[in-house]
């Protein structure tokens, strides 16, 4: 007997056909721990072989799951062991490893591969330095490789030398990809409290605490949540809004849980986590900013935005927590500017500024994401912006990040397009009174006390 009502069936079909419900990414985490070698070209050859065997069936498996279950899987991706961990004996240029990752990604059919990465929150090892030095060239020479560097953590504090080094690296990456409006920086994220099982790019890595090969799934669904909030009566109070978001988040998460289980079973690998994130896309209506406006903010960025985002983020997690026992990754609402047309509109009308995004970061996932800034922004200013993001993460024991793109030759008011899911955005202004001397001091901002929480 059919124990699902026609209304419930129609709701699911409408979510997919009209409200952009999809699984944003099935990301295969692959350990490269057996690929270490003494020179970059040997590592590159091993990495290529490892990826081609571990991820051979990823794309066809995901395609059959999406057909049978009727839920699109937008992206199939790969994350790998941070390259710094396997390349400390190689060098000086690790670009050949990135090229091997890129070639494997093309042949496997994934749109991004993450893990050209290093963790330097407490100090910079040789492998870390090699990765960071190679980032501008690696990101310029490849199409699908993403890099990430963790510069701070709640247990270690903020490594300001690393923050400054990454600001210089971001500038160099922008220059190396100046012919593509600094596109390399869209594939580079600087983290505080990086997680080891994040399926989303550009910050996906396969951490050292993971099994050899793992399936991690990132759910999505801003369009679905937006439709649900907009269908509520005007007199619905905030408790009712939170309830509606929770119920919707449960359903979206269950779809992610089902896909994660099925993908892991069919690939014969461990199921990792389901990342409960609302990840917008440039598609009209698939916007986190529009949900905040549906909750009742005049325009995203206006007073009340942080409150609405806190409510949204918390309700998504509460609903999702009922839907899976494998919550992981970043799990929170994403607020990338260029990938969210509601955010773009808010910047264009002056409602949304970098400072407000910083406040929003304190109550949601990650933070200063996909933000185009003037190409002539000094490295010290970029470092100071990154350090502010880190400070929020360190003190609040949460992941924060910055993915800033200083667009060469462009200034405030100009527009830049990165294409595809990376979207387009206006160049935003950056406060000119940066903590230049602060970041130039270098050293480490000590880890904070775990008590005395005010």
């Amino acid at each position: 007997m059919l124990d699902i009502s026609p209304e419930e069936i129609a709701e699911t079909v409408t979510m997919v056909t009209q409200q952009n419900l999809d699984i944003r990414t099935v990301t295969l985490g692959v350990s490269l721990s057996d690929c270490a070698a003494g020179d970059a070209s040997s590592i590159a050859a091993r990495v290529y072989d490892r990826l081609m065997s571990a991820a051979e069936n990823l794309v066809p498996t995901c395609e059959s799951i999406e057909r049978e279950f009727g839920i699109p899987i937008v992206n199939k991706r790969i994350s790998v062991t941070p390259i710094a961990e396997i390349a400390s004996c190689a060098g000086p240029d690790l670009t050949p490893i990135a090229l091997a990752m890129d070639r494997a990604a093309h042949e496997i059919g994934v749109d991004f591969i993450g893990g050209f990465s290093a963790l330097v929150q407490k100090g910079i090892g040789r492998g870390d330095q090699l990765v960071i030095d190679s980032l501008p060239s690696a990101l310029a020479a490849t199409e699908r490789v993403c890099g990430s560097v963790n510069v701070a953590s709640t247990r270690a504090g903020i490594n300001m030398d690393a923050v400054m080094l990454m600001a210089d690296t971001i500038k160099a990456t922008a220059e190396a990809t100046a012919d593509r409006d600094g596109l390399g920086c869209a594939k580079l994220v600087v983290f505080c409290n990086m997680v080891e099982d994040n399926p989303f790019m550009a910050g996906a890595v396969h951490g050292s605490g993971e099994a050899d090969v793992v399936v991690n799934v990132g759910i999505s669904g801003p369009g679905v949540v937006n439709a649900v909030v907009r269908s509520l009566p005007d007199e619905a109070d905030l408790t009712a809004v939170a309830e509606a978001i929770k119920a919707t988040s449960f359903k979206i998460t269950r779809a992610g849980e089902l896909v994660a289980r099925e993908a892991a079973r069919r690939l014969g690998v461990t199921m990792g986590i389901v990342d409960l994130s609302l990840a917008p896309t440039p598609a009209e209506g698939d916007s986190v900013a529009e949900i905040l406006e549906a909750i009742g903010v005049g325009r995203c960025g206006g007073p009340g935005t942080t409150t609405a985002l806190a409510l949204l983020n918390d309700a998504v997690k509460k609903g999702g927590a009922m839907g899976t026992s494998s919550i992981g990754g970043l799990s929170g609402a994403f607020i990338p500017v260029s990938e969210d047309m509601g955010m773009v509109r808010a910047v264009e009308c002056g409602a949304l500024t970098l400072e407000k995004l910083e406040a929003m970061m304190s109550v949601c996932s990650v933070g200063l994401d996909m933000i185009a800034i003037p190409g002539d922004t000094p490295a010290e200013t970029i470092a100071a912006v990154i350090s502010d993001a880190c400070a929020i993460g360190v003190i609040n024991s949460k992941t924060t990040a910055a993915r800033l793109i200083p667009v060469p030759g462009k200034g405030v008011g100009d527009h830049v397009s990165f294409g595809g899911l990376l979207g387009h955005a206006p160049v935003m202004s950056v406060n000119g009174w940066a903590g230049t001397r602060l970041v130039r001091r270098g050293g480490r901002v000590p880890a904070p006390l775990g008590s005395l929480r005010n």
Partner: protein, 91 residues
């Protein structure tokens, strides 16, 4: 292998919908376990619980047959594994 699936049809009511769908299912060796029909917000909606016998026709083969029927009758027809709905709508 037998796989339970939900078939849903959405669109404007017209003569011959049930006949066209059930003919396609019969040709693929798929059994109709239950069938319900209603009007949702003015839109014709039919849902069927179907068992697909993948030894006779693959899941994708049945979907392809239904896609042809959908085009002929001008309605939205989807066939999805039943687990999706159980997962999304039941705790």
């Amino acid at each position: 292998m037998k796989t339970k699936a939900i078939l849903s049809v959405l669109g404007e009511d017209r003569v011959g919908i049930v006949a066209a769908i059930s003919n396609a299912l019969a040709a693929a060796g798929a059994n109709i376990e239950d069938i319900r029909q209603t009007i949702l917000s003015g839109v014709f909606s039919m849902t069927m619980l179907v068992t697909v016998d993948e030894d006779v026709e693959s899941f994708e083969g049945v979907q392809a047959r239904l896609a042809t029927v959908a085009e002929e009758i001008g309605l939205q027809v989807t066939l999805q594994r039943e687990d999706v709905f159980r997962f999304m709508h039941r705790v």
